[in-house]
Amino acid sequence: MTVSSVELTRAALERIKQVEDRVKAYVTVDEAGALAQAAEADRRLKAKENVTPLTGLPIAVKDNMCTKGLRTTCSSKILADYLPPYDATVVTKLKAAGAVILGKTNLDEFAMGSSTENSAFQATRNPWDTGTVPGGSSGGSAAAVAAGEAVMATGSDTGGSIRQPASFCGVVGLKPTYGRVSRYGLVAFASSLDQIGPLTKDVTGAAQMLNVIAGHDPLDSTSADRPVPDYTRALVNDVKKLKIGLVRELMGDGISPEVKAAVKKAADALAGLGAELVEVSLPSLEYAIATYYLIAPAEASSNLARFDGVKYGHRNKEAKDLLTMYYETRREGFGPEVKRRIMIGTYALSAGYYDAYYLKALKVRTLIKRDFEKAFERCDVLVSPTSPTVAFRVGEKAADPLAMYLSDIATIPVNLAGLPALSLPCGFSGRLPIGLQMIGRAFAEETLLRAAFTYEQNTAWHQQSAPL
């Protein structure tokens, strides 16, 4: 029996109506648009016209990726009514593949945060326990997939924003190599770190979506001009001959005992399946958070200068002169975390402090990158926890920005080095999912997918569903 896209899309929209008041994953649901796209997908399926594994699948798009004529807010007041005049390249590609876009998912404002509490509109909740956060910044996308409100979703990852919510919500999240996926139409946060990737129920879904969204784009000059393999061919249940390195610095005191035990068990399981398991050290890792929280805000302070109330977005209407208009527009439009990061970045780039902070951070970034290069001389894949803990309580870290930043220790170094990495479920602490991070060499997404697929085929974590 086959199900039509219209039926599948209606079921997803129905599910959204059932659970959305508890999960709050979506900023915008486009019911009419989704049903029209579904009808078109059904026509394509019937005519066997350009059918892909994504044709007819109802998916969600993180609300920092432009969708032509469909509100794109970045979960910020400053863009609350923004209607993009164009589609992001990933959206163009997903539409061309026949995917049905259900709506736009919530995020930490401008993707700055690790809990999706920094949204100007609503705090998304974790479907496994609605008293906890879904992670962030792609918390809306991860929660939507975990709650069955979308079959798959796009996320963006600057310091862990795909992988950490995937970990908290018990789904698969893949951050591709920097440059693998076009950033055209992704509202920029930190341009040297941002990368778009899939959030899916399983590793197969991740490979299928990556097949659609990967590739060179003349509209993003940092996108990599190299061929895109068929990633689903990497879905092989075999890790023999793979050398897997367990990262010593990410199995220490700062990691909760339950998470550590689950990750150790997963690494042992991979060894049991034929991989060679070794321990590796990344000594510069302890400097990664400080490095990231100078570089990312510096880039953000420059990227967010465009929100000035002139061309689009919110404007303070009372101001009588231009400078006051800038000050007041940005005071009213940005939330506290965005302001905080603009301030850090502006400071790190300002006269007298550039060398001591920004340039210093760029040099330490080199050291972190070299650590990974050295580890990958010995290993094909590195494994670690995705996050030091399972999902934390709503409000628990909201008042202490530094404590929130420190929880990104396992994911941030990967963005600094530009490498591909994914998170997949590897256990539970109570009823909350634990995520296993796998890191690969640049452009070695296939090795990563193979290792993840093998682990998934030999465990049953991904078959569990959030009890909503």
């Binding site: 004529g69 923004y82 209607l83 005049p85 164009y86 920097y178 440059g179 003349p218 000059s221 940092t222 990599a224 510069s284 400097y287 490095t291 929280y293 302070s301 200068a305 000035d308 109330g309 002139v310 061309k311 689009y312 977005g313 919110h314 404007r315 009588k320 002169d321 231009l322 400078l323 006051t324 208009m325 800038y326 000050y327 007041e328 940005r330 005071r331 940005f334 506290p336 905080r340 603009i342 301030m343 850090i344 502006t346 400071y347 340039l359 210093k360 951070a361 760029l362 040099k363 330490v364 970034r365 080199t366 050291l367 990158k369 920005p401 530094l402 963005n415 080095a417 530009g418 640049a442």
Partner: protein, 92 residues
């Protein structure tokens, strides 16, 4: 680390309330104290990395292509006149 919050906010064209000035002053100091950890590392002979994946200049053909429709762009303008963005008076 004591930072001049008002000066930084001016550089960033960011209006802040008195409460925010005080809060950010404390929080930024804590974050920058943490960032001072980097000073422990000797990076004298280390080159900076601004992009993780090495790239050289990317060129394309200098070709005229159609511009996006003007109407949907201007529809987002907070204030416009005759397809131009209007801003408060700059020159006296």
């Amino acid at each position: 680390m004591k930072i001049d919050v008002e000066h930084v906010a001016r550089l960033a064209r960011l209006g802040l309330t008195e409460t925010e000035k005080k809060l950010f002053g404390e929080q930024l100091s804590a974050i920058l104290d943490y960032a001072d950890n980097l000073k422990k590392l000797d990076t004298e002979s280390v080159p900076p990395t601004s992009h993780a994946v090495a790239m050289s200049n990317v060129y394309r053909e200098d070709k005229v292509i159609p511009c996006a429709d003007v109407e949907p762009i201007m529809a987002n303008a907070p204030d416009e006149a005759n397809h131009m963005f209007r801003v408060p008076r700059i020159i006296e």
